[in-house]
């Protein structure tokens, strides 16, 4: 029998309430199996890391299929700006040689 029943996770502390009166927002990442990447599952509100983890468990992991959870304060994510998506992403699209399909596989190469 453990000597304590609570398990306070050490993690980022809560920020103050967001402008809309809601608790701070967290992004949730779930991992479905060992070695698989943690994938973005959604977001939720919580006042601190432990509560974010508990809420993520209840909202995103209760029906199984999850072996690991990450929660990250939404504010900690730096995102590319939608307005700059053109200059930011387009240059790669017209350079066919950046894609493997551009190259012919030489005869005699097996197992590709």
């Amino acid at each position: 029998m453990a000597s304590t029943v609570i398990n306070q996770t050490v993690g980022p502390q809560s920020e103050s309430l967001t402008g809309d009166g809601q608790w701070p927002l967290w992004e949730v990442f779930t991992q479905s199996e060992q070695g698989a990447p943690h994938e973005h599952a959604g977001s939720l509100h919580a006042v601190d890391a432990e509560q974010a983890l508990q809420n993520a468990r209840d909202v995103y992991a209760r029906r199984g299929g999850v072996i690991s959870l990450w929660v990250i304060p939404s504010g900690a994510i730096t995102a590319s700006a939608p307005s700059e998506s053109g200059p930011f992403f387009d240059p790669g699209a017209d350079k066919a040689y950046r894609h493997p399909q551009f190259y012919k596989v030489p005869r005699g190469v097996r197992g590709v």
């Binding site: 029998m1 609570i6 306070q8 509100h45």
Partner: protein, 267 residues
């Protein structure tokens, strides 16, 4: 040969089946508390907590289903878990009174849940060593859920106790009101004694210090005062033998109305 004169002494009340009684206690605690928690559905402070409380309620109802199904089998009268949940009267329910108390404010609900969750963990942990293999198995499965429940309610005790002046005051008031109801957790009677002798059920008195130290540890950290066991208010008793507060009847009226209005209905 003359038949014996009719006796004026009432026939002795048959001794209740101890295991049937005990399984009803386990099942009814969880059924009634699960129903109480389900009343928060759509009313919790935020969406995430609404989902969390509903999840705990569903866990408890799931556990109640198993314990009451086992109770029905032991009883052997052909009653399944639904028959026991929906067609018994208040005096036939064997839950402790704490779980039937109305939800009050969020602080009261959390304090009630926390006190029960710690009891649940301590009791189920002991029941995993039961000489009744089926009971030990169900306890082991339920213990996993209970460990999460107490992590949730314990975390809230810290937040409310060590939060604002108002949250502290509300949760302390709730604790003070609830404390006298916790005596029923550990009040052993002849049912516990009979099942304890065969190793089916644990010694409740031995579990109390464990419960107290786990509760106290969280309350201390939450800057809350552990209510002292003084006979200021009458201790709750009798729930295990069918004596309940007025609140259970109202709860049952709502819980049982559909099943009783449409007996045998399936959906």
């Amino acid at each position: 040969m003359t038949s014996p004169a009719p006796s004026i002494v009432p026939a002795p009340v048959p001794k209740p089946n101890a295991l049937f009684e005990y399984l009803q206690r386990l099942g009814d605690d969880r059924l009634i508390l699960g129903h109480r928690l389900s009343e928060w559905c759509g009313h919790a402070p935020i969406l995430e907590e609404d989902i969390a409380l509903a999840n705990v309620a569903l866990d408890l109802l799931g556990q109640a289903t198993v314990f009451l199904r086992m109770a029905g089998e032991v009883d052997g009268q052909g009653r399944n878990e639904d028959a026991l949940a929906y067609f018994r009267e208040a005096v036939e329910f064997r839950n402790c009174q704490l779980v039937e108390l109305p939800n009050g404010d969020f602080g009261f609900t959390i304090a009630r849940q926390f006190l029960f969750d710690v009891y649940d963990v301590v009791l189920l942990d002991a029941l995993t060593k039961s000489t009744n293999g089926e009971l030990a198995g169900v306890a082991a499965k339920s213990l996993k859920e209970a460990r999460y429940h107490v992590r949730h309610s314990g975390e809230w005790m810290l937040k409310l106790g060590d939060g604002t002046d108002e949250s502290h005051r509300r949760v302390q008031t709730a604790l003070d009101e609830l404390w006298r109801f916790t005596s029923e957790f550990f009040a052993a009677d002849e049912i516990d004694a009979e099942l304890g002798a065969s190793g089916v059920a644990p010694d409740l008195a031995a579990l109390k210090p464990q419960w107290e130290s786990l509760v106290r540890e969280v309350l201390d950290r939450a800057t809350l005062t552990t209510p002292i066991d003084v006979p200021r208010l009458p201790r709750a008793r009798g729930g295990r033998s069918g004596a309940h507060t007025e609140h259970l009847g109202h709860l049952l009226a709502e819980m049982q109305i559909v099943a009783r209005s449409h007996p045998g209905a399936a959906w």
